[in-house]
Symmetry: C2
Subunit: 664 residues, 2 copies
């Protein structure tokens, strides 16, 4: 800290006017005792701080004032890509995933794909209308956590929150991995470095999000709109060609080698349906993010939600219809074969032409961008949880760019951890997606039913029926997914979610305990200090830190007592002699410690001497030698901390650390 | 900390007299302002502390007073096993190791073994007489570090120290591994758990050493003496039988299958000699440990050294003589074949009878105990280095049992790390032993030559010649070992030793820098405080911690200013209103921070307001909420530390931490 404040104006060589009021550069005077800090007040001082600030500026842009929050809000056209990339991206694989299940009972079962798709879209309509009501009822953000917490209680709220948080992490890990897989499918040389590549991609998305919501919305808008555009074109051209009988069967696909190993039955249909439902992950994103919209927030959010659901429905149904019509062969999310969408694309677009490549590349883009929805929602949800005390408080703080930095960074780190743990192939986790989402759907809709019943505003019956249908239907889906996907790892959720809930309850418990311990009753008036006090300084050697502590102590009481625990009696006497010579008026007490303990004899001495005059307060000054480097901690003992730990919080003692650090 | 001091005597129910002077239980009054802490002053208070103390008591025994240091000293009969187990243990393998080298040029080269052994013993005699002089000249411990440091300078001293420290670690890792190998040779089922077994054995030796030197001496005496006894008996019987022509050739040994691959030459002889020299590791132990002897220390140490060298010479020469005579087959330290000593034993003692087994078991014991010499010397050397500032200071502190606990624990941990790193088979490290020892020999003897030349006391020429011969001879050995063993890893030492030296120099540098920064000129007299001061309290919310800080601040100055950095202006106003109501007389300054920084605007405000009246001192009180648990650090922000770091060490500011902790 070699910094020296330059407060009295700039250098004269700068030819600038000398500033008379030193406040003016850093603060705006708002009234008696109220200043507003200018950006300059947090400007870097040292060369190192300046370097850091430059790097931060390049990465994230310059800090935004809290007042800029409103201008950071999203217009609908930006909100749509931010909140819908997750749900849209599932169009790229949901149809194929259903077919991959059904192929177990032979290719002629593919005819059920269209039926299942219709059911999923019906579900989508129900959920959308349910959430439309939620958005209106909770205009400040109506995520499942808030609705369930407010109407069904803490446990329901935390269950919804834990399910969603888990899902967000899974989404980031899986979708970015899938996007990078598309990359190294094209360039196989990259496969050995896939884990660093995935981690790097996640970090990139993280950095963009740390720049703030509006910027990420701008950046991610075009890939999403290109994807939507090419999908709509694909479906329009495909349906037209199909209806006019021009659409041929898909060519150049390896014939299905697998024979039917399972008989067609309800269970298989349920499994396929569960995979289809994964198309709906991300539907709740808009409802969670209402406060990110420009005013009137709820209205814009509702409209965005309807647009999103409409687009999704068209794209999903269209893809399924075309896939069945051209006789596409199944391929899952990250299965090695050609994806169903690719087969549809080259059949509809007359082979591998420009439109086909635009479709393929924008698909890859949307898969990576699916992570963006999580990056928009996870930090928001964790900030709400932090505000309520279920998450560490820093998750509620906005960073320089008004983003919830802690949540963004935490999401990136946890999902990178997942990617590394699964060695860059987290495909096995896909099965886990849907259960979390539908759990939170169910809890949110049930909460809404309760909400309407307790409020009984105009039209409450109709609203309750809509949400009630939503709750029942999504609850059924939860059961279907849980049973049909149990062997594919859904049980992991049963472990992770309760652990998360327990952790959040524990954090809440700690904050509550601490809050009660620190709480000051709001009506007490604290009078002037009324106890006599004595001042004690702990000193093990003569140093500037000790001199500083003594000088501070002398301003607090008439006499300062210096207590020295001596391991070597003769050295102790030398120390006493020196203190008496150099710090006149200070009374030295030597405590010889033949058993070489330093902390406890000191504490015992204080206790014992306190009994001589129990009415007075003992102020203990601990000269602390503040290390300049982390390694200094290994070189100096930590007795100050032990003394502090032994005395702090006791009735007759106040401990003061007097840190000292040598000049640079 | 629910502890409540019970100072005014025991419970009446105990029928004990109420103690009038509360000091009496914990302290002895020695004079005005001087107390001596009784053991009771460091007695445990809480249930948890009591449990820990009980466990410590069981493991290590009750604390010893510093005054007991003298009674902890070793009589010669205990010092011999402590300091010689290392050197003695090499008898178990040195002869075999030489033969294993020579076998490369055919078995008929074994005749050179006896000649090489005579050279090694001659070397031993020279080194012993050299060290005999060193012990007399440095009666406070004349290890190579002290002698080289005092006479040849810092770098020579640290080179000797680093070589020895490395050797001690290697000795512990290798010898304990060898002992455990003997165990799982007998019980092969134990081999899979050899790493934990070795680690456990090292921890056991560590715990015994933490009990203090005297206890470890007692415990380890009998195995050493049994080994010495059986070795002397073996040699006596063997030589007698050999001279009377009764000694047959060794029976039941697989014939040597290897053919001569190398031609006999000087290089091979040098390699064999280098292995023979490993018998001398540990010779310096007595000289390092002079202060551990009972008075007159140097005399007892000299005598012990002579006894040790005599025993070693007899045992080594005798083993080599008998091995050659019975035509033993070579086997190294941890080679899989039957050891040479075992072959000699069963040939001399008429097959595998009781005496043979006593010899074998005591050999295994002495191999493990070789570690004991390192455990006696490493902590002592590191305490000397710590005293001189080259090692962290805590290495110089004696523990409850007067042992240098830090050194003992560090040695155990580092050698366990080595064992784990080499997966329980650190045999490859044997080659590294001798080079370190002989380097320290050379430096120590050269230092002594310099010592005699500068002192020129009576008989200095004779002494200088003796040490000079020692220096030259050991220097030659260093070169021989370095060349012949370079391919066996000696180069590792060339990396490790300089790193250690650099580390020690760095530590010294840090301590010196810090010492200068904290140093108080010894003749300054500090007057009473003469600067006016203002008192500022940082407060982010109303809490008991803040109230405490304000109350303390009020004892230091007339007015206390409370500075609040407000992220939300309306919340800031509410806070001001509350403070003005509950803490009358405190002046509140709100610093609104629209860019949401907390620390820098606070610091800037202090700087700026300091310029208004630069002559006064600003005392900044930081109410610190002291966490009760480690995880609380994750739940509360660390702004206090950042404010402290920004202000501490600056001219016009004194920072005081006022820690607060909620009651239990």
């Amino acid at each position: 800290m070699a910094e020296q404040p330059q407060l009295h104006g700039r250098k004269l060589g700068d030819r600038r006017v000398v500033v008379d009021r030193p406040h003016a550069r850093y603060f705006r005077y708002l009234g008696p005792g109220v200043l507003e800090a200018k950006l300059e007040a947090q400007a870097p001082r040292t060369a190192q701080q300046r370097r850091m600030a430059t790097i931060r500026g390049l990465l994230f842009g310059r800090p935004l004032s809290s007042a800029a929050e409103l201008t950071e809000r999203l217009p609908k056209w930006k909100a749509l890509p931010v909140f819908s990339s997750d749900v849209m991206s599932s169009v790229a694989y949901a149809t194929g995933a259903m077919m991959l299940i059904l192929v177990g009972a032979g290719p002629d079962t593919f005819k059920y794909v269209l039926g299942l798709s219709v059911i999923v879209v019906a579900l989508l309509v129900i959920v959308t209308f349910s959430y439309r009501q939620t958005i209106r009822a909770y205009p400040n953000g109506g995520g499942s956590y808030i609705v369930a917490h407010a109407n069904l209680g803490v446990l329901a709220g935390l269950t919804a929150a834990a399910s969603l948080l888990t899902d967000y992490v899974l989404t980031v890990a899986v979708s970015v991995s899938a996007g990078v897989q598309a990359l190294y499918s094209a360039f196989p040389a990259l496969e050995p470095v896939k884990v660093p590549l995935i981690a790097l991609s996640i970090l990139l998305v993280m950095v963009v999000n740390l720049r703030g919501l509006r910027e990420s919305g701008t950046l991610f808008a075009s890939p999403t709109y290109i994807f939507i555009g090419s999908m709509l074109l694909l479906i329009a051209v495909g349906v037209f060609r199909s209806l006019t009988g021009q659409l041929s069967q898909v060519a150049d696909v390896a014939p299905l080698t697998g024979v039917a190993t399972e008989s067609m039955g309800l269970f298989l249909l349920c499994k396929a349906f569960a995979d289809g439902c994964s198309a709906m992950t991300g539907t709740e994103a808009v409802a969670n993010g209402v406060p990110a919209f420009k005013p009137v927030e709820w209205k814009n959010a509702q409209q965005t939600m309807i647009i999103m659901a409409t687009l999704l429905g068209i794209m999903f149904l269209g893809t399924s219809y075309l896939a069945v019509n051209i006789g596409a062969h199944p391929a899952g999310f990250q299965a090695t074969g050609e994806s169903v969408l690719s087969q549809v694309g080259r059949t509809v677009f007359y082979g591998r032409g420009p439109m086909y490549y635009i479709l393929q590349i924008s698909t890859m883009g949307i898969l990576i961008l699916a992570a963006q929805t999580s990056f928009a929602d996870f930090p928001r949800l964790s900030s709400i949880l932090a505000r309520d005390g279920y998450f560490p408080r820093q998750f509620a703080l906005r960073g320089e760019r008004l983003a919830f930095n802690s949540g963004i960074v935490a999401l990136a780190l946890v999902s990178i951890f997942l990617v590394v743990a699964f060695n860059g192939s987290p495909d096995r986790l896909i099965g886990l997606y849907a259960i979390g989402v539908f759990t939170s759907f169910t809890l949110s809709q049930s909460g809404m039913v309760r909400h309407w019943f307790s409020g009984r505003g105009p039209g409450w019956r109709r609203s309750a029926v809509i949400n009630g249908i939503g709750a029942v239907v999504t609850a059924v889906v939860v059961v279907v997914i849980a049973i049909s996907k149990f062997d594919q790892g859904v049980w992991v959720i049963i472990i992770v979610v309760p652990i998360l809930i327990a952790l959040m309850l524990f954090i809440k418990h700690e904050y509550d305990l601490e809050g009660r311990g620190l709480d000051v009753a709001p009506d007490v008036v604290f009078g002037p200090p009324h106890r006599r006090q004595r001042v004690v300084v702990s000193a093990q050697a003569m140093s500037r830190a000790v001199v500083q502590a003594v000088k501070v102590g002398e301003t607090m009481g008439e006499e300062v007592q210096l207590v020295h625990v001596a391991l070597d009696p003769s050295e102790g006497e030398r120390f006493r002699e020196r203190v008496e010579r150099q710090l006149p008026g200070v009374r030295v007490v030597l405590v010889e410690s033949p058993y070489r303990a330093l902390v406890r004899p000191f504490v015992r001495y204080l206790e014992v001497s306190q009994t001589e005059d129990p009415d007075r307060l003992t102020i203990v000054l601990l000269p602390e030698h503040l290390p300049r480097h982390w390694w200094d901690r290994l070189l100096y003992n930590q007795n100050v901390h032990r003394i502090r730990a032994a005395l702090v919080g006791r009735k007759d003692f106040v401990v003061l650390d007097t840190p000292y650090r040598r000049g640079a």
